[in-house]
């Protein structure tokens, strides 16, 4: 895709357009989003196998409404590989120690069955500062 060099206005427009679509992507009919942590340590822990199994499992069930994306490390190195699953009307969940077997369970139980997978839920390590303007830390507490 050959992109023309942007002007200030074009950059602002692009940012506005993309602002909401990153967290919940409803473009192209993909309502579910799975993010695989693919930093060096995640990959060393097996994130590539997790990703391959995930893609194969989604194909097997013909789940075309799932967008698979990658990110860097989350900071949960002790629990890698990690993935985040966002299904509409369900809480966003981070899973840790996601082996190929666990990712199959996540596809079958969470994405298809709409229930969470036991024993693998972890927590995002910190709030997102983009919407933490009134965080107590910056209010001098």
């Amino acid at each position: 895709m050959a992109q023309k060099k942007m002007t200030l206005e074009e950059l602002r427009k692009l940012r506005e357009e993309k602002r909401h679509s990153v967290q919940v992507r409803d473009t192209e009919g993909k309502t579910i989003q799975v993010t695989v942590g693919m930093g060096t340590s995640g990959i060393a822990a097996g994130a590539k196998e997790t990703l391959q199994t995930l893609v194969a499992e989604l194909e097997k069930h013909q789940l075309t409404n799932v967008r698979v994306r990658q990110s860097g490390g989350l900071g949960l190195e002790h629990a890698e590989p990690t993935i985040e699953v966002r299904v509409p009307k369900m809480p966003a969940v981070i899973y840790g120690r996601v082996t190929p077997d666990v990712v199959r369970r996540i596809v079958n139980h969470h994405i298809i069955g709409r229930e969470l997978v036991d024993e693998h839920i972890y927590d995002r390590p910190a709030a997102d500062i983009l919407d933490a303007g009134d965080h107590p830390i910056v209010n001098g507490e």
Binding site: A2, Q3, K4, K5, M6, T7, L8, L11, R12, L14, R15, K18, R19, S21, V22, T35, G37, G39, T40, I43, R69, Q70, S71, G72, G73, L74, G75, L76, E77, H78, A79, M90, P91, R97, R114, E115, L116, V117, D118, E119, H120, I121, Y122, D123, R124, P125, A126, A127, D128, I129, L130, A132, D134, H135, P136, I137, V138, N139, G140, E141
Partner: protein, 533 residues
């Protein structure tokens, strides 16, 4: 029929010991007894890292966060919250002055972490520029190019109090001002991504998880000091980081965020990547600059500092990855916002690589001034096997030990130095009662002896002598005089070495002696020990 609620019972190893399993069973039973099996899923989770307040129960999607829940609370929790939808106030965690329920950002405060430099890591796909742009990416560059003068940028950095995160802790605004004020036809920006401390990987994570923040910060620095070229010096051992950075640079060029007349302004800026071959000394700024020039990476005497006479003799701003990661946020939210975080002398947050004998190892970002105890026990979840804490080694091969007595020190640049350690790049290696301090000191000296460039005598000869003495002591052949020798040589190295590597190389040995002298004495044969007394 999908579940309406999810009840998560923490099952970290620490919580297990405080009856989390019984609690889980109790909650399940009460859920069944109240006919909620179809509506509430009860689950066990990994550690939330807040173990001193455990066991922890979290109810989603309400985001209710319950602490110190005992099995006897299960009935009330299920009946009130899950059946009637009324949160059990008495069990909800409250940070003083914070209303926990219904606001995820404030609830997350229990985690003690606050992510500024790591703000995008784990959120965005680092290979897609739009994802960075969507999360306030390049807003700061926009702002400086069209609304701020170079002096405005420097003033904002001054208000923020940002100090270099690479080790020395020098004020960033001063570096930038020196370079801005220097008269020259050519100036440079250099990003120091030559992360070499054993156990530290914050730079790698930031480059891999959020490469565009580096490009944006370097362009801001270029605009501020009047440089049109930037170099990223990154070690060749980080292939994924290099690949993502290359992709990011190509995308930024394509979108007109690097190159000529950025966003239609008068400002032009380019970035090139230079690979280091994994020599620790090339993380030292003068050695690094020589390496970029294609010469052997050996430190040279300062002053002149690179800010005035740097790359090819031209004024050069050289900053570490984490330092740069803070810059766009400071510009966007203002220096005053940043200065609210941290201590009197050390503003903002610090990224630490928490490793060693700790349950939840990982990359953490915490406000300056946090207590080491909070890091080890709250975030780290304590020591596996409930062994006794012995020390934390901070600052890598340049740093030292922090012992049990100092667990409650509020850590910042100054307090760590006062303890005989240093901030360094931010490695924190936790050690338990089984670890030998003589061995730890030996490991680091072995590393620095290997990495010394050999140019100055104190470092080349002194380091090897200390290592030799440590090996002798470890073998049980040492004498009391050997211990004194280590301290003498160490002092000389600190005072007379040419660069930071040699000046700080004796720290691990000196601080091990300062806090764990007995362990060295125990290694010395009894007959020799008594002779000396």
């Amino acid at each position: 029929m999908p579940y309406a609620s999810f009840c998560l019972v923490c099952r970290g190893t620490a919580c297990e010991s405080s009856k989390a399993d019984t609690l889980y069973d109790e909650i399940k039973q009460h859920v069944a007894a109240n006919g909620l099996n179809d509506q509430v899923q009860v689950l066990r989770t990994g550690c939330f890292g807040f173990c001193e307040q455990g066991p922890i129960v979290k109810v989603l999607p309400d985001e209710a966060f319950y602490v110190q829940v005992v099995p006897e609370d299960a009935e009330e929790l299920v009946h009130e919250h899950l059946l009637k939808g009324r949160p059990v106030e008495r069990l909800i965690y409250r940070e003083p002055g914070v209303h926990a329920l219904g606001n995820i950002d404030q609830i997350s405060f229990y985690q003690k972490q606050f992510r500024v430099a790591l703000r995008n890591c784990g959120f965005i796909d680092p290979e897609i520029i739009e994802e960075y742009i969507a999360r306030e990416g390049y807003v700061a560059l926009e702002k400086v190019l069209f609304e701020m003068s170079p002096d405005d940028v420097i003033r904002e950095l001054e208000i923020s109090g940002l100090r270099g995160r690479g080790g020395g802790g020098y004020l960033t605004w001063k570096k930038w001002k020196f370079t801005k004020d220097a008269q020259s036809d050519q100036k440079y920006i250099v990003l120091n991504a030559d992360e070499g401390d054993p156990g530290a990987y914050m730079d790698r994570s930031m480059l891999e998880g959020d490469p565009h923040s580096m490009i944006e910060a370097m362009a801001i620095a270029g605009y501020t000091v009047g440089a049109d070229t930037g170099y990223v010096y990154v070690r060749a051992e980080y292939p994924l980081a290099i690949k993502r950075l290359r992709t990011a640079i190509a995308q930024a060029e394509e979108y007109g965020l690097l190159g000529d007349n950025i966003l239609g302004s008068d400002f032009s800026f380019r970035i090139e990547i230079r690979l280091g071959a994994g020599a620790f000394v090339c993380g030292e700024e003068t050695g690094l600059l020589l390496s970029i020039q294609g010469e052997r990476g050996m430190p040279v005497q300062r002053p002149p500092y690179p800010a005035v006479k740097g790359l090819w003799g031209k004024p050069t701003v050289i900053n570490n990855v984490e330092t740069m990661a803070n810059v766009p946020v400071i510009i966007m939210r203002g220096g005053a916002w940043f200065a609210k975080i941290g201590t009197e002398t050390s503003k903002g947050t610090k990224v630490f690589a928490l490793t060693g004998k700790v349950r939840n190892s990982g990359l953490i970002e915490v406000p300056m001034g946090i207590k080491l105890r909070e890091i080890v026990y709250n975030i780290g979840g304590g020591i596996p096997g409930d062994k006794k804490f012995k020390a934390v080694q901070s600052g890598g091969p340049s740093g030292g030990m922090i012992s049990y007595e100092n667990l409650d020190t509020e850590i910042d640049f100054e307090t760590l130095t006062a303890l005989g350690s240093m901030m360094g790049s931010g490695g924190l290696i936790v050690m338990d009662e089984d670890d030998s301090m003589v061995d730890v000191a030996r490991f680091y000296l072995d590393f620095t002896v290997d990495e010394s460039c050999g140019k100055c005598v104190p470092c080349r000869v002194g380091g090897r002598q200390i290592l030799h003495l440590l090996e002798k002591i470890a073998k049980g052949e040492g004498t009391m005089e050997d211990i004194q020798r280590i301290e003498e040589i160490g002092r000389t190295m600190k005072e007379t070495s040419l660069c930071g590597l040699g000046k700080t190389a004796p720290n691990p040995a000196l601080s091990a002696l300062r806090y764990f002298r007995d362990e060295f004495h125990e290694k010395i044969p009894a007959e020799v020990r008594e002779d000396a007394v």
